[in-house]
Symmetry: D2
């Protein structure tokens, strides 16, 4: 839709109409008492709306349709009896199905013994999928960047431990792909590729990871609007890979002074995004809170909001961990969270499913 | 704490120490390899930290203690067997007690019949407290500002209807005090004075309302950090009124594009603030969502996060309402929310109470 | 404009059309391949768009016109040979005229001697208007709130000193009106009433201050969008008072970690707002920076962006000041700023004036 | 610095002290009336502060020193007669020297003729460096992604045109490296590698680009705090490449409603960052504004704030451009901007240089 200035000339209006026609669209002119508005009839994505906004006499332009048609619930419904509620299957685990799934494991893979011990713990606690970081994104260039940054074959060893621990305790495994050069290697070892928050906008990585065909666990950037998050998820879908598990992990806090949590968990997007797209969305309370004493409450809130699962970092001895020590919980605490969350899920799902 | 520049001179350091002493505090000098840091021993609030920050050679200053000592859980615990978890009693209703409380009613009071009909509906649904706006804060100067803005005695009539509906259906009543000039009038009619989000920083209103001695329902501003929220709540407590019910109602969305909710509900602050202060906190999903199809999920999430209650706007026929029509739910929907929330509350409180 | 769901029924569309007609508007139905959009022909502000958004089958609504028609440049131009570029005259000073104006003085009035000494200094430096705070809004309830908060007649004394210093050094004076109860008193003493950032949304204060008929210096809230700022300025204009001097003073910083400035000065709004409204806008670098070593650069940037003036806090001995010590500059530094800013203004105004 | 809870036990305090010693640091215990604070004496970056924050009895931790020591002005000064104000030389052009530099060219390279014609235009206008996008990062997966995304050798052709145009008109050239796989190719053709806003956090790309040894034009992410920006610039410096040109290009707007600019240009960081680091910083008004009628004012403001240069997109016929049409200016407009900016620079540099 093109909104003209009040003093736009006929010539300027005609120019806009002609440019619209060049894109193979029809222009509908609506002349109000105050100004003229020109609608695009047809698929407005065929036009370069931004370019039209640069034409003389144009005040502003607005998109009516979403930029993420491939993953849009409304588009899919309109285009036939399409997918209404994707269920992503990884081994025996269904993400987006009737039951929430729980992903847990160490923040960073540190040793074979550590991964196995934690894997056993979280499996006992009720987790379905094992996580563990090998290539760690860090805020400081001087912090430890995970075993993936060590010389020699430590990255491969770490991935092997993760894979074997997953096999041993019958959980699919997921790890973060931080850069393009890691995609091929990691895809050999894991079932789900994670794109971290800081890489949400990294379209080259999205495309390369998507092409592997494996499910993608895709985290919202902490500075991204919800619509932007979906627009970039479309990069994955555009490669023909619709096995996308969205993940809300908190946005930058607003306002002066302490926020008391590291990031602001935006739980309103959980039901809202599930109305916009047929993809499942999970919640990561660990990175949002940044402190272990809030993980329980924020996990419960995530499931109550309708999340399809949670991703929670765990360690048998949190203060020993090399990364994110302050936000880790023990497998025992994880078990308590899962128990309570299942009750919450039961209470809420009695009502019409949030995803329909 | 005063952090000096690396090239701060002895003279500059001495000047800072002397200024600290003038405030009746002791200065502790810590000379590192790289720079000197000066700690304030004693009650650092006696000093004007900002002024010290302006002295020559000072790089920056940082407060260690909170600016909200009167409502701080830690300060209260430290100063003796103080209040650890305030329960605010309004008639028979306890806010911050064992059970969540539900505040509901119309967005705006429109007629006697409307208030009574909605009051009856929300009472049947399980609400404990009746709300209704008489003086409405609006984004546009050209929107209807509530009956309080009409000529004649309509404000008094509207307040009377609200009072009588509360009495009739045995619910205490709350309404927003938008400006100082309304405090005396409103305090005659209602049990709880609401300070709205837009007035969070309005210290003159806070002080005047606090002096009435009635409980204050105090909403966080949508641009306020969590610490700032508590710092301004301290204005109320400073008047000797600690009957403060905090309320999270959403902050401004971050990032480009649509946010899908009107504001971003920050549910992490619910448990976090309850660790910082002994005051109860409730959640307002209606204004955060701005759309009725998300109220159920966001209500459940609020209670799951540990909120002491919810404030939800209701109407028997939402599309007829003069204000906030798109976010209103029916009393029937409210009943369903309360039913599910009680199950969630039961599931979560089995664990150690979030407020202790 | 009303955007319908793709599966909206004819009945739902008809309902929307009928509701639009009830507001005395005409509905224009545009049926696309994918969905129906309904335009409102006539003055869309007559309709309650939010209410229409709550009707069944409606996906979303969008306003085309601004909510601030009284102060809109486009509306004024469209409605005849109206005001295109307001010049607000206060005594001999013209705000919004050919030359930028400089407002300076102490952050807080502390004593007669202090006000006079600073007034003399800033006058010599080239300032046109004298500022000084009597009722200080503070972040902490435990900080000094200005002489206005002291018992006895200190508020009146402080206002008298400010008035007399202004008269003595031939500068109009401005002070902040923090609460409604101060409006009558302050209006007796000063030429311009300042509404501070924290009160931007305080519509009762806006209305009461506007009714005095004196120019209003109106600061943007640090959490307010630019459009919201103008929408609330409309409350002042709605009282028939269009002598509004807008002021940008910084918004809350975005992102993790230190921002290096207390607030983020949004200088893009300076030219942008002057295209939206015919009102003048000035810049306050002092509160945005929060540190004196950036005042020079941010002042220059403000004038270069096209601001109609600057408001800068000054003190002959910054580290002695009771409030905002870290951001105060001396009259000598002010003089240097004004000298350089005048050169910048000369360089930029050669080009077509930013306000036309 | 480790801040303990008020009720921390001696045992907990001792544990913290011991953990600090394990990092080779000394712990300084400061026992206040209210709580104990433990300072780290030595290089606190040796310790994992986050891990210490997870120990029992710890309330919170705070870093005193910056995480970006390699690019810190203060660290460099302290460690001897180091670099105080980097000047980055690219051919005959000095970035960070006495005069601001101007980078201009098309948003996207579209054809040989287009690049040459624009290169000639911006050279005539006074530009020093030629820019042109080959691999374009786009918000929508369905938008044109630049010639780099086309099949065949179009990427190489586009880079060749850019290189030849730079040689022909005697300007070094810069283009964006959007993904790791493009680094080697692009480094063969251009003089400066640009890391775009969306890749600010992409540490794998930063490292790979840095290793080429060529200057890096490094843009702040629109959701990044200023300190975070410098922390990630440290990734480049850690590879031994200190030829970093920082670039401010706007952050996400705060608040409801329209912002009138696409992003919020944060000009306060320009002088602030130049006090924190010895690296030069430039400003990109084009992407911040998103509309051409504000480019003049925002360019002037950038130079007035002390920027070492500007990057501005230009086109001989803006409405013909395939990308960013609404924000492009003509070479003639660029010439006017440069002329006025040089006058502003002259006016401001008379004063002590902002970078010292």
């Amino acid at each position: 839709m093109i909104i003209m200035n009040t003093d736009a000339t006929e010539e300027q209006i005609n120019r806009v109409v002609e440019e619209i026609k060049k894109y193979g669209l029809r222009a509908e002119i609506s002349r109000g008492a105050f100004r003229t508005i020109i609608g695009l009839i047809g698929d407005e994505r065929k036009a370069d709306i931004e370019r039209l906004g640069g034409l003389p006499g144009v005040k502003e332009t607005r998109m009516i349709e979403t930029p993420y048609k491939l993953i849009s619930r409304e588009y899919n419904k309109a285009s036939g009896p399409g997918e209404e509620c994707a269920v992503i299957k990884v081994g025996d685990v269904e993400i987006g199905g009737d039951e929430p799934i729980y992903i847990s494991g160490p923040c960073a893979v540190e040793s074979r013994e550590q991964v196995f011990r934690i894997a056993e713990g979280v499996k006992m606690a009720g987790a379905h999928i094992l996580r563990g970081g090998v290539f760690k994104p860090r805020s400081s260039a001087h912090s430890w960047q995970g075993l993936g940054a060590e010389s020699g074959d430590l990255a491969i060893e770490a991935l092997t431990w993760l894979r074997e621990a997953g096999d041993r305790y019958e959980m699919p495994v997921v790890t973060e792909v931080r850069g393009e050069s890691q995609v091929d290697l990691i895809a050999e070892y894991v079932d789900i590729l994670q794109i971290g928050s800081r890489n949400m906008y990294n379209q080259d990585l999205l495309v390369k990871a998507a092409q592997k065909g494996k499910p993608i666990l895709y985290k919202r950037h902490f500075g991204a609007g919800a619509e932007e998050f979906l627009s970039f998820a479309e990069y994955i879908a555009s490669e023909g890979n619709k096995n996308i598990i969205l993940c809300e992990r908190g946005i930058v806090p607003v306002g002066k002074g302490k926020s008391f949590t590291r990031y602001t968990l935006d739980l309103g997007v959980v039901p809202a995004i599930q109305k916009e797209t047929y993809l499942p969305i999970i919640v990561d309370p660990s990175h949002a809170a940044g402190r272990r004493d809030l993980i329980f409450s924020m996990s419960c809130a995530g499931i109550a909001a309708g999340a399809c699962g949670l991703m929670i970092e765990a360690h048998y001895n949190p203060s020993e961990a090399l990364v994110d020590a302050s936000q880790l919980i023990t497998p025992e605490e994880l078990k308590e969270i899962i128990t309570v969350c299942q009750q919450i899920h039961k209470a809420t799902r009695a009502r019409a499913n949030a995803r329909t």
